[in-house]
C-alpha cells in the first residue's frame, strides 16, 4: 500500500482535507515514544487502497517541538510516496516557507492550494500554473471545506506517485553554500539517519537533534566549534534566504489588492478582543456553555438515557430471574454492571454537549482569542497566555489537556501548565457534581456548576503563581500566536470531534470503568456471607480504614471514603461506587435521595471541593510521567493536589460549621 503524508501550517485546513479524503476510514493513535497524536486513514481509488497520515500542523521543520520532530522524521524516515503540502492561499508567504523546507528535504511534494475561496474574497489572485512552475511541483487549488478540487488533488497525487521528484537546487548565497558543502564532505563517510546535505544545512541552523547526532563525529564537531569561535552564525540568514526565495516566487504568481480588505474577522475582533468587552464576553461565553451543557445535556437528554438504562436493567433482571440464574449473578449484572456502568453512561449526553461546544469554540477560531484575552491575567500570575488553551482542553479531559502544553516552548512554562492542569475539572468529574447538585441545589444547577469550575480555575492560577515564585523561577517565554480568521464551524468536523471524545468516554465506561466496578463489586460481596455493600464487606472495611482521615472534612463515612479511593483509578468510578454502596442499584433518583440523607449541605460542599481538587486519575498521573519523563513529578502530581484538596475541604467544613451551616 502506498503512503501519503499531509503536512501544513496550523489552521491551513489540513485536518479538514484529511477528513474529506479518508471519510470515516480513520483511526487515531500515538506516534511511538511520544504523546503526539497520530491520525491515519485510507481511501480507495480505482480498486487500490492508499494510506494517508495526517502529520501535526507546524510552521517549520526544526527541532523545537515534538510536533516538528514527528513531522520531519516521518517525511525522511517514513518514506511517504507523496507529501501533500496543504497551503493556505490567503497567506501564501508564510505557508510556502514550510514548502521550501519540504523541498530542501527532497520530498515528493504536491501542493494543495487550499482556501482558494477565501483568497478570492480577499481579492488575492494566484496563478497556480506559475506557482507550479516556480516551485517545480504540482499545485492544485482546493477548497477542502466545500470538497472542491478533491478529485483533481487525488489525480495529481497519484500521478506524482509514479514520478521522481524534480530535484530543486537551492542556493543560500555563496558563503553558506560553500559551508554546506564543506560540512557535507566531512559527513560523507558517516552513517546518518538523514541525507548528508540536509544534515549539513540543519547543523548550520543550530538544529539540536542534528548536533546530538554528530556528537561523536570529531571532525564535524571541531569544524562547528571553529565556526562558533569565529562568531559565524547562519541560523537567521538561512531563514532569510528561504523567505527571499519565497518572496521571489510570490512576486511572480500573486496579485494582491493595494489596500488590505477589512474582513468580517477584523470587525468581530474589534469587539471580541477589545479591552472593555473581551473578558466579560469570554466569561459570558463560558457561562453559557456550562448552562447549555447542563440544561440540554443533563435535564433534557440525560433523562432519556436514565429511563432507558432503568428499563434495560429491569428487563435484564426479569430475564435473569426467569431463567433461574443464581442470586449472585443477578446481583453482579444488575448492581455491578447495569448499576455501576449505567451510572456512568447516564452522563454521555452531557459529555456530548460539552464537547460539542468546545469543538465549536475551537473550530471557529475563538480559542486563540481566549488565549489572547487571558494572557494579561495569566502573565500577572506568572504564566504564559497559551497555558489557558491547555486549561480549556482540560475541561474535557486532563490527559489531552496536559498534552496540549506541548505548544509551550519554555520548559518552565510547560511544567507549571502540566502541574495545574488537573484543577481544570474534567468531564469525568462532572457526574459527581450533577448527583450532588440534584440532591442539594436542584434549582441553581448551572450556577453551582459554574462556581465549581471557576474554583478550579482559581486554584490553578493560584498554584501557578506559587510555582512560578518557588519551584520554577525565571521569566515566562514570549507570547507569539497566530489569530486565525473566524470561520463558520463545519458541522462534520464538530460532530466528528465530539463523537471521537464521546466514543472514548463510552469505551472507558465499557472497559476501565467496568473493570473497576467489577473489582469493587467483588470487594463488596466478600468475604462470603456478608451483607453485600455493607460495612463488613472488604469494600466497607477499606472505606472504614480511610474514613477517619476525612472526618474533619465532614464526610468521614466509609461510603464516601471508598468512592474517593476508587476515583483515583478513574473519576467516573466515584459516582459508580456511590451508586453501589448507597442505592444498591444506582437508578438516578434513588441515588440522589440516598445522598441527600447521608450528607448535609455543608458536607456536600466540602465533598465537592475534595472531588474537584484531589489526586487526578491514574491516566493523568501516567501522562505526567510520560510528558515530564520523571517519576518524581508524577508522584508530586499525585500527592500535592490531595493535600491541597483535603486542607481546603476541612477548611470549608470547619468554618462552615462555626458559622452554623
Amino acid at each position: 500500500m502506498q503512503n501519503i503524508a499531509l503536512v501544513g501550517n496550523p489552521n491551513s485546513g489540513k485536518t479538514t482535507l484529511f477528513n474529506v479524503l479518508t471519510g470515516s476510514n480513520q483511526h487515531v493513535g500515538n506516534w511511538p515514544g511520544v504523546t503526539v497524536e497520530k491520525k491515519e486513514g485510507s481511501f480507495k481509488h480505482k480498486g487500490a487502497l492508499y494510506n494517508v497520515v495526517d502529520l501535526p500542523g507546524t510552521y517549520s521543520l526544526g527541532a523545537y517541538s515534538e510536533d516538528e520532530l514527528v513531522a520531519r522524521d516521518f517525511i525522511v524516515k517514513g518514506n511517504p510516496d507523496v507529501v501533500i503540502n496543504v497551503v493556505d492561499a490567503t497567506n501564501l508567504e508564510r505557508n510556502l516557507y514550510l514548502t521550501t523546507q519540504l523541498l530542501e528535504m527532497g520530498a515528493n511534494v504536491v501542493v494543495a492550494l487550499n482556501m482558494m475561496d477565501e483568497a478570492e474574497s480577499k481579492q488575492i489572485m494566484i496563478s497556480t500554473k506559475d506557482l507550479s512552475e516556480a516551485l517545480g511541483v504540482p499545485v492544485i487549488s482546493t477548497v477542502a471545506a466545500k470538497k472542491k478540487g478533491i478529485q483533481e488533488l487525488i489525480d495529481g497525487t497519484l500521478k506524482a506517485m509514479n514520478q521522481e521528484p524534480r530535484k530543486i537546487v537551492f542556493t543560500y548565497g555563496k558563503e553558506i553554500d560553500e559551508e554546506i558543502s564543506k560540512i557535507r564532505d566531512l559527513l560523507k563517510d558517516e552513517s546518518l539517519p538523514y541525507p548528508d546535505d540536509w544534515t549539513a544545512l540543519k547543523l548550520l541552523e543550530g538544529d539540536q537533534e542534528m548536533l546530538s547526532i554528530v556528537e561523536k563525529m570529531d571532525q564535524v564537531k571541531t569544524h562547528l566549534k571553529s565556526l562558533q569561535a569565529d562568531n559565524v552564525d547562519y541560523e537567521l540568514d538561512i531563514v532569510d534566504k528561504r523567505y527571499a526565495y519565497v518572496n521571489g516566487i510570490t512576486k511572480k504568481c500573486v496579485v494582491k489588492p493595494a489596500e488590505e480588505i477589512v474582513t468580517a474577522t477584523d470587525k468581530i475582533d474589534r469587539i471580541l478582543t477589545s479591552r472593555l468587552f473581551g473578558l466579560p464576553i469570554f466569561g459570558l461565553i463560558m457561562y453559557l456553555v456550562f448552562q447549555l451543557t447542563f440544561v440540554v445535556g443533563s435535564d433534557i437528554l440525560g433523562g432519556y438515557v436514565e429511563t432507558a438504562i432503568e428499563i434495560f436493567g429491569e428487563f435484564v433482571e426479569g430475564w435473569l430471574v426467569s431463567v433461574g440464574s443464581p442470586d449472585w449473578l443477578v446481583s453482579f449484572v444488575i448492581e455491578g454492571f447495569v448499576g455501576g456502568v449505567g451510572a456512568v453512561l447516564v452522563f454521555v449526553p452531557l459529555i456530548m454537549v460539552l464537547y460539542f461546544f468546545l469543538a465549536i469554540l475551537e473550530d471557529t477560531g475563538y480559542m486563540s482569542r481566549a488565549a489572547y484575552i487571558m494572557d494579561g491575567i495569566m502573565r500577572a500570575v506568572g504564566l504564559h497566555g497559551k497555558t489557558f488553551i491547555s486549561m480549556i482542553v482540560g475541561f474535557g479531559c486532563n490527559v489531552p489537556g496536559i498534552m496540549a502544553t506541548r505548544t509551550l516552548e519554555n520548559k518552565k512554562d510547560r511544567m507549571i501548565a502540566i502541574l495545574i492542569n488537573p484543577f481544570m475539572s474534567c468531564g469525568a468529574r462532572l457526574p459527581i457534581y450533577l448527583v450532588f447538585i440534584a440532591a442539594f441545589f436542584p434549582n441553581n444547577g448551572g450556577l453551582v456548576l459554574f462556581i465549581i469550575y471557576a474554583l478550579g480555575i482559581g486554584m490553578a492560577l493560584l498554584m501557578g503563581k506559587l510555582f512560578s515564585k518557588t519551584l520554577f523561577k525565571g521569566e515566562s517565554s514570549h507570547f507569539i500566536m497566530e489569530l486565525p480568521p473566524y470561520r463558520l464551524p463545519s458541522p462534520t468536523s464538530v460532530l466528528r470531534d465530539m463523537w471521537e471524545k464521546v466514543w472514548d468516554f463510552v469505551k472507558r465506561a465499557g472497559t476501565v470503568i467496568f473493570a473497576v466496578v467489577a473489582l469493587l463489586w467483588v470487594m463488596s460481596v466478600l468475604p462470603m456471607g456478608v451483607e453485600p455493600y455493607s460495612q463488613e464487606s472488604i469494600l466497607g472495611r477499606v472505606g472504614q480504614f480511610i474514613a477517619p482521615l476525612f472526618a474533619p472534612a465532614g464526610f468521614g463515612t466509609w461510603q464516601a471514603s471508598v468512592s474517593l479511593f476508587a476515583g483515583i483509578a478513574a473519576k467516573e468510578a466515584v459516582v459508580a461506587v456511590l451508586g453501589m454502596v448507597y442505592a444498591g442499584v444506582s437508578e438516578g433518583s434513588e441515588l440522589v435521595n440516598a445522598i441527600r440523607d447521608s450528607f448535609t449541605t455543608l458536607s456536600a460542599v466540602s465533598f465537592l471541593v475534595m472531588t474537584l481538587l484531589y489526586t487526578p486519575c491514574a491516566a493523568v498521573i501516567a501522562t505526567v510521567k510520560k510528558e515530564t519523563n520523571s517519576y518524581k513529578w508524577a508522584a508530586f502530581m499525585a500527592i500535592y493536589p490531595f493535600v491541597l484538596a483535603w486542607s481546603l475541604a476541612v477548611l470549608v467544613y470547619q468554618i462552615g460549621s462555626l458559622m452554623g451551616f
Binding site: T90, R94, L236, G376, F479, M481, L483
Partner: protein, 72 residues
C-alpha cells in the same frame, strides 16, 4: 522606534529583531524578519496584534519592544 510604540492602523517595516534565542528564530520563521511589512491592528493592553500579508499575529508586549521598525 520599536514595534510596541507603533499606533493602531499605522504601517511599518521591520528593521531588526533584537535579542536572540528561540523567540527571534520563531519570529523569523513566521515571516517577521527584516523587511517585513506590518500593520498595527491593536495596541492597547496585553499582547499587540499585527496584520502581516493577511494573517494576524499576537505578539507579547515585551517581545514587541525588541523589534525595531521604521514607519512607512
Amino acid at each position: 522606534m520599536v514595534l510596541s510604540g507603533v499606533k493602531k492602523n499605522d504601517k511599518c517595516r521591520i528593521k531588526q529583531v533584537m535579542g536572540g534565542g528561540y523567540a527571534r528564530k520563531r519570529l523569523y520563521e513566521l515571516g517577521l524578519n527584516s523587511g517585513a511589512e506590518l500593520k498595527m491592528v491593536k495596541n492597547d493592553f496585553g499582547p499587540i496584534i499585527v496584520s502581516m500579508s493577511g494573517s494576524k499575529l499576537a505578539i507579547g508586549r515585551g517581545l514587541a519592544s525588541h523589534i525595531v521598525v521604521e514607519k512607512e
